[in-house]
């Protein structure tokens, strides 16, 4: 039974009709009234920038906040591989339903049907919109858009711009945003960090933000507040997220009444550059698109793995028969393109069994040699009319194609590792990449606090327990361009009589005083250990006990360790510099303090969920073949956690009803 505190507000009717009908009946705000309604948006990534520009175009007064020096820096920029859309340009059988189905299945049957169907429906509009903005997607010679394949699907529906699709999409949204800034419809606040939301009479009415250059606290009123602040992967310290990515905005909202949905669902991405040493500050992703052409393997024999590790054997010299292409072996139907959670666990299994190929034993190969020669080299040779190409010709011709498709990724790999991936197989290992969990939202993307919305990675809504590749960009832009501009009408149409609230209101003053007291407390500890010291320790607890595999005992230990760490942090942290100046250490301290609290909730959630699903793998619950074993009788629900007091949360359940998809064990075999 769904908790009485949760109303997902899913429209009635047939799945295919829900959104169309809803859009046609949702209350509207007339243009004159839009001008007097103010909307605050926190975060300027794909979700934030697209929402800001779209809402400003409609006539609302918008304020956007980002902690970076420009909205163009938001971490969406780093997304590499592509964006999914059910365009069926390839004539390979794609459809809205198939994208919907793949997403639900890929999420291991833990996402809400109506939201996902809507996402699939608007996906095609996103591509149209981006092309109209001048986003230079990859094209074929005839001038049409090109597509590639991503994990968990058997069609080619991924649009891309080399290995920097996120950059191009974000710059498109950023252009649209800057246009509105120029027109005076959006007021932009860069180098500002949101430190709290302000609730008045049960509704969210604004935020407290800190100007990161002067250190001053500011109060901002809004009729509605949209959090587009991204995910919380940096709770693990090492992740593919940007250094500044943080949970603070979402966490403050959580502590003011927004329930947190499925916090334990984290995505460990299979293809990242392995850790090289303890100085490491972040991990770098090698796009999933590489699995189109890269084959993942380890040696079949442990002796060979040992010889490779000690440098006695060059992997290029290991015979084809002595290689174990373990994804192709275990999952013949999807091969190297199984979803991320499945690929990550399979790599971990091989490395744990002693077949890892780098010095730490935690790496597998991603090898392009075969496709360079046989897929691309041959094709190019045929095009050129070379009937009996030599091995060298095949290599040269194939490499040119690989370079065009993935050049920037290969350069990045070489720069980081010092190894040339055109000549040697890449070494990769899973790393924290994305968080499916986030603030619980209803169909309108509104949290449990009226007037407070969460978009993009910051919400929990569309990816269930595992996100498919190229779907994050799709969701961020869907939420911002095509969902919230409609759904916000349901709320704001009732707010047209609300006059802007004076920011001297006691609720604003109280929230600012709390934020100030906390900053002063951080500055005043004057302990002996740096913020990073605590962040690294938190990361290690989370990775070891709440990472790719979890068990009840480990999670209980982790909770105790995190509580100890929290106490130590508030006694021992040292924040240098001053309160009222540009002070990056102070910013980090606040964020890490929030991560510590979040880490505890993630472990609580993982401990509560006595099943394995998607990215949440509990060692106690697996099939004989080591696949995730769901428990649909007891855990077919969204866990929405309500903050009660320190280290104390109340679990609320939203039961997931599958009316259109038959729920089954996922199989990619």
């Amino acid at each position: 039974m769904t908790s009485a505190k949760l109303d997902a507000r899913i429209p009635e009717g047939q799945l295919e009709q829900k959104w169309t009908k809803y859009r046609s009946t949702v209350p509207l705000v007339n243009p004159a009234n839009k001008r007097s309604l103010e909307i605050i948006i926190v975060g300027s990534g794909l979700a934030g920038a697209s929402a800001a520009s779209s809402l400003a175009e409609l006539g609302y007064k918008v304020k956007v906040f980002c902690f970076q020096d420009s909205p163009r820096r938001a971490h969406s920029i780093a997304a590499q591989g592509g964006i999914n859309a059910a365009k069926n340009y390839q004539n390979d059988g794609d459809s809205t339903y198939r994208l919907f189905y793949d997403t639900i299945k890929g999420g291991d049957y833990r996402a809400r049907e109506a939201n996902v169907y809507r996402l699939a429906e608007v996906s095609a509009n996103i591509i149209d919109q981006c092309v109209a903005q001048g986003v230079p997607f990859a094209r074929e010679y005839g001038g049409m858009l090109d597509n590639r394949s991503f994990g968990g699907t058997q069609v080619k529906r991924t649009f891309y711009a080399a290995g920097q699709t996120g950059q191009q999409l974000l710059l498109g949204a950023y252009s649209a945003l800057q246009r509105q800034v120029g027109l005076g419809q959006v007021e932009m606040f860069t180098r500002h960090e949101m430190l709290d939301i302000v609730n008045i009479d049960g509704k969210c009415r604004g935020i407290i933000a800190r100007d990161l250059i002067t250190g001053k606290l500011e109060r901002h009123f809004g009729h509605a507040v949209l959090l587009c602040s991204g995910g919380y992967g940096n709770v693990f310290y090492l992740s593919t997220n940007a250094m500044g990515s943080n949970v603070t905005a979402a966490w403050k909202a959580h502590k003011r009444g927004a329930f947190f949905g499925n916090p334990c669902y984290t995505q460990i991405h299979p293809t990242c550059i392995p850790v090289s040493g303890d100085h490491q500050s972040k991990l770098t992703l090698m796009s999933e698109s590489l699995r189109n052409d890269g084959r993942i393997w380890v040696p079949k024999r442990k002796e060979d793995a040992e010889a490779i590790r000690s440098g006695k054997l060059n992997p290029n010299d290991l015979k084809e028969d002595d290689r174990d292409y373990f994804l192709e072996r275990r999952y013949p139907a999807f091969g190297n393109l199984v979803p991320r959670d499945v690929a990550s666990r399979a790599a971990k299994e091989r490395c744990d069994a002693g077949f890892g190929v780098n010095q730490t034993g935690e790496a597998v190969y991603l090898d392009f040699a075969y496709n360079t020669k046989f897929k691309y080299g041959k094709k190019e040779a045929t095009k050129l009319g070379i009937s009996n190409p030599t091995e060298e010709q095949l290599n040269t011709l194939g490499k040119a194609v690989i370079k065009e498709q993935y050049g920037n990724l290969f350069d990045m790999y070489q720069q980081i590792t010092g190894v040339n991936p055109y000549e040697n197989p890449m070494m990769i290992y899973p790393a924290v990449h994305y968080t499916m969990g986030g603030l619980w939202v209803d169909y309108n993307l509104m949290t449990t606090v009226p007037g407070l919305y969460a978009l993009g990675e910051a919400n929990f809504s569309d990816h269930g327990a595992n996100r498919l590749g190229a779907s994050a960009l799709m969701q961020g832009l869907a939420d911002g361009y095509f969902v919230v501009p409609y759904t916000i009408g349901a709320y704001l149409s009732n707010e047209i009589r609300t006059k802007p609230i004076d920011t001297n209101h006691e609720a604003f003053v109280a929230a600012e005083n709390e934020a100030k007291a906390r900053l002063e407390k951080l500055m005043g500890i004057k302990g002996t250990k740096s913020v990073d010291h605590f962040h690294k320790r938190l990361g290690k607890i989370m990775w070891d006990k709440c990472g790719m595999a979890r068990n009840a005992e480990g999670l209980k230990t982790a909770i105790a360790e995190i509580q100890t760490l929290k106490a130590e942090f508030w006694k021992e942290v040292r924040v240098p510099g001053e309160l009222n100046e540009f002070n990056p250490e102070l910013e980090k301290a606040g964020r890490v303090a929030d991560f510590i609290e979040l880490g505890e909730l993630m472990c609580q959630d993982a401990l509560n969920r006595n099943e394995s699903c998607g990215g949440h793998f509990r060692e106690e619950y697996q099939t004989e073949e080591g696949e995730a074993l769901r428990d649909d009788v007891n855990f077919n629900y969204v866990a929405a956690w309500e903050y009660i007091s320190e280290s104390n949360w109340q679990l609320n359940k939203e039961t997931l009803n599958y009316e259109n998809i038959k729920i089954a064990q996922r199989s990619y075999k």
């Binding site: 990859a138 980081i416 990056p584």
Partner: protein, 254 residues
């Protein structure tokens, strides 16, 4: 400590925009060749914090060469000695042990220093607001394949669109000109059919804003292209100049 390189850093320290600023020298020991340049700064900062001193402020975020936030001027070159690489992707294996490395902020009137190595690049955002877009509201778009775009044009537009807006071109230029940055955005749209309706007004407005921000003029030295971490081509500047002249002569705006 994980490495065996010893480095001497001479780093620009400046409390805030009004401070005069000066170089400070810091020896950094135990540097690993696998560290990135910024990770070496992390090591230095950790030590400064432990010694009760103020760490060096610098901008950085994605640390994978795409967000454009990192911005150090290293031994007289923006983003350091390698071509096609941002500071965050520069690794210590590009240096030798016992090297002395001089690190400064971007220096340009239009990029005032905020603190130490961090500068204010909001002038770039204002240039974008002046015209760096195609005026199309959400929901107006036709089908994405309705207008075919030749692969060559699409690829050239993409090559210009790869600019990360870091400002290295400005820092490299003896005139602190922003022509490479501005021309990259103008070229991206000039090469695409979607960019045609506003082609003339775009170049006029963006150039006007660029001048208003206090960036210098271009004297075709080419330092910007040589130092650009994303290989943005000087030919974009030529295209912008052509478009600009064309716009000035043929504009119907009075």
């Amino acid at each position: 400590m994980s490495g065996n390189m010893n480095i001497t850093l001479k780093v620009w320290r400046q409390k805030n925009k009004d401070d005069r600023g000066r170089f400070e020298t810091y020896p950094v020991q135990g540097v690993s060749p696998d560290m990135s340049f910024l990770e070496m700064f992390d090591v230095l900062n950790e030590r400064l914090i432990n010694e009760g001193k103020e760490p060096v402020a610098f901008d950085h975020d994605c640390r994978e060469g795409i967000c454009g936030m990192c911005s150090m001027y290293i031994n007289g070159r923006p983003h350091g000695p390698l071509q096609g690489v941002t500071t965050c992707q520069l690794h210590m294996r590009s240096f030798k042990t016992n090297d002395t490395i001089v690190v400064e902020p971007w220096r340009a009137k239009a990029f005032p220093v905020i603190k130490d190595l961090a500068v204010d690049r909001s002038s770039f955002d204002r240039i974008m607001s002046a015209g760096g877009f195609i005026s199309v509201n959400t929901g107006n778009a036709q089908d994405a394949n309705a207008t075919p775009i030749g692969k060559e044009d699409a690829d050239t537009a993409f090559a210009a669109a790869m600019c990360i807006g870091c400002g290295a071109c400005v820092a490299a230029c003896k005139n602190a000109s922003a022509m490479l940055f501005v021309s990259a955005k103008i070229s991206q749209f000039a090469l695409l059919p979607q960019g045609q309706p506003e082609r003339k007004s775009r170049v006029s407005k963006m150039v006007a804003q660029m001048d208003a921000e206090g960036f210098g003029s271009c004297t075709n030295t080419g330092a910007c292209e040589a130092e650009c971490p994303k290989g943005i081509s000087l030919s974009n500047i030529a295209r912008m100049n052509r478009d600009y002249i064309n716009a000035q002569f043929t504009s119907q705006q009075m």
